[in-house]
Amino acid sequence: MQPFTTFTAVAAPLDITNVNTDMLIPARFLRKPRDERYGTYLFHDLRHDEDGRLRDSFVLNEAVYQDAKILVAGANFGCGSSRESAVYVLLDSGFRCVIAPSFGDIFFGNALQNGVLPVVLPEAECIELRAFLDANPGATITADLQAQTVSAGDGKVRRFALDPLRRERMLKGLDEIGLTLTRLPAIESFEQRYAAARPWLDR
């Protein structure tokens, strides 16, 4: 996993609540291999109409957001299915940070596994940030995981929280499996005690 320390990029205001994983990547693309086209499935059916033409009305289709790599969205971002593809499509099209008032639980975990930072800010601050972006199209935002802050050109520095263990893993880009396997002796002795107390689990 790519470490995440600090990240600055054009931010796009995505004024939708309950952005679900079917919006992020429609189910029919789930069978696709993760190749260089993967990022193009992001928001596919919001971006394109039924005939495959780009919809002018969708924010990421605006010229000024072609380089956007941060999203500022509505509440419950990433709700729905457990598909990690919903994170892959973001990452593969360059997005490394999503700011929202809340996230779907599984999406939140998946994002952290892939070096995409989910930043939880109060609803009012997200609305404020989107208003700032609307007034200054193409403005950048900096997400600093070390300092746990988000700063935009409006001069305000907004703080966010993240579990210290997860923050540490993300800052260092640590591989969770490698980390877990260093605990193998503890895992094995746990399993022995656990199984001894539950003879019915012996399959």
Binding site: T17, N18, N20, D22, M23, P26, A27, R28, L30, R31, R34, D45, E50, G74, A75, N76, C79, G80, S81, S82, R83, E84, S85, V87, S102, F103, G104, D105, I106, G109, N110, Q113, N114, D163, P164, L165, R166, E176, I177, T180, L181, R183, A186, I187, F190, E191, R193, Y194, A197, R198, P199, W200, L201, R203
Partner: protein, 480 residues
């Protein structure tokens, strides 16, 4: 805290069902809220190909293959199944099913393929085969893993990275969730089921109402529910944002499990049940939140919008924009426009194009019986099909003659799989078509581009099939 004995608890501290299971599975505490948990049982379906690919690329192996079970469900066709794998004509789809078989063989994992008698939707066959036990930590790369919580297990969905981790290590770092207890009391009126209960719960607390929480369902309504209906309730916990749903195991649970292929063998059965009986929320144990629902007052439910939280009694009307403003108004406007509905429109009598009875939410024998009871002696007015949740359920329903009830009504009786719940096998609605569906998600495009999904119970879906409209099933039941 580790498990010297199955019940490793601080003496005298009242604790919840969830805490008892959590504590029994902690291998190591990370930070205050984060622990390394042992996983008893993991389930795999075709979608696991990404996890397997990464695992193999990293040169890792499956650490405890016996604690995994793989089944083909998401991509299997529901027609032409007599031909087995040869009947899968789309090469991409066939490739995914083949890949699961190869990966399972590579990992030494038991696999139920397309023509295996154990085949079915992953969250249906886990319980059916007796792989799902009370007190377990259960995982699967699928959000509706919450279904298994109906057995008093902590069961949750996860993404590909975590699937890979469970394959490689048989444990997972988990953040301790908050706890929400939903107490549902009262007697359901005839014609209502677990689906109406959970749709009402989600309508009440919202699609993000349980985010960050594990839900424990309690109360007299839950206690008197069949295993099938409890599974339906827990299944949709994720649609309220919950990480998992759970129900304390009781005699209903034990009766369901007893004698199933992977249930505890007879010589261990009493010890297992004795342990399972200890897995209950103690008097005075604390929850972060409590919600109460009066089931006696419920009316059959139907969703009108594009989020499972946008549900109404069938006697109700779509929200009126006049009372709304800001974000809430915009959300309703956009849902109404996608669904082709007018503000204030009545749900009862809305014409529907197609009916789907299936999915891990509602495809078990109870569900099929409930639908058949409505269909019996009537004719379908619109295209409809039933996809039983497993090959075994299909056979059991056929043994009861239920297949004939549907076929005589002009409703298709198909094979088992995820089918039109997600459409990855090709069972899709046409753009603009409106469905009454017993599945769990009414998201834009979930059942096909431009498809309009109304989530309902099996009985309500059957009522829609025989009337061609969303209909209060109680009227049909009263008419006999």
């Amino acid at each position: 805290m580790t498990a010297e004995s199955p019940v490793a608890l601080a003496p005298n501290a009242p604790s919840t069902l969830f805490e008892k299971i959590w504590n029994a599975h902690v291998i190591e505490q990370g930070s205050a809220d984060d622990a390394l948990l042992h996983v008893d049982q993991n389930f795999l379906h075709e979608g696991a190909f990404l996890a397997f690919a990464a695992l193999r690329k990293e040169g890792r192996t499956v650490r405890r293959p016996k604690q995994h079970f793989a089944v083909a469900d998401h991509y299997v066709p529901t027609l032409g199944r007599e031909a087995g794998i040869a009947g899968v004509t789309d090469p991409e789809v066939r490739g995914l099913i083949d890949l699961l078989e190869q990966n399972a063989a590579w990992g030494g994992i038991d696999y139920a393929g397309i023509d295996d008698p154990r085949q079915g939707i992953v969250h249906v066959i886990g319980p059916e085969l007796g792989l799902t036990h009370p007190g377990m930590v259960i995982t699967c790369g699928d959000s509706h893993t919450s279904t298994h919580g109906a057995f008093g297990a902590f069961a949750f969905g996860m993404g590909a990275s975590q699937v890979k981790q469970v394959l490689a290590t048989q444990c997972l770092w988990q953040r301790k969730p908050k706890l929400l207890r939903i107490t549902i009391d009262g007697t359901l009126a005839p014609g209502l089921s677990g689906k109406d209960v959970i749709l009402a719960v989600i309508a009440q607390i919202g699609a993000a109402g349980a985010t960050g929480h594990v839900i424990e369902y309690a109360g007299s309504t839950i206690r008197s529910m069949s295993m099938e209906n409890r599974l339906t309730v827990c299944n949709m916990s994720i649609e309220a944002g919950g990480r998992a749903g759970m129900i304390r195991a009781d005699d209903t649970t034990f009766d369901y499990l007893h004698g199933r292929p992977f249930a505890p063998k007879q010589q261990h059965w009493d010890a297992a049940v004795a342990y399972w009986r200890t897995l209950k929320t103690d008097e005075g144990a604390a929850f972060d939140r409590e919600v109460r629902v009066d089931a006696g007052a419920l009316v059959p439910m139907v969703t009108w919008g594009t989020s499972p939280g946008q549900g109404l009694p069938i006697t109700g009307r779509v929200p009126d924009l006049a009372t709304l403003s800001g974000d809430a108004r915009r959300a309703v406007e956009s849902a109404l426009s996608y669904m082709g509905l007018k503000p204030g429109q009545a749900m009862d009598g809305l014409p529907v194009d197609r009916v789907f009875i299936g999915s891990c939410t509602n495809s078990r024998l109870d569900d099929i019986r409930a639908a058949a009871a409505v269909v019996r002696g009537r004719k379908a007015k619109i295209p409809a099909f039933v996809s039983p949740g497993s090959t075994q359920i299909k056979r059991e329903a056929e043994a009861e003659g239920l297949d004939r009830v549907f076929i005589e009504a002009g409703i298709e009786w198909r094979a088992s799989g995820c089918s039109m719940c997600v459409g990855t096998n090709g069972d899709l609605l046409q753009p603009g078509e409106r469905s009454a569906s017993t599945s769990n998600r009414n998201f834009e495009g979930r059942q096909g581009r431009g498809a309009r999904t109304h989530l309902v119970s099996p009985a309500m879906a059957a009522a829609a099939a025989v009337t061609g409209t969303l209909t209060d099933v109680r009227r049909l039941l009263a008419a006999g």
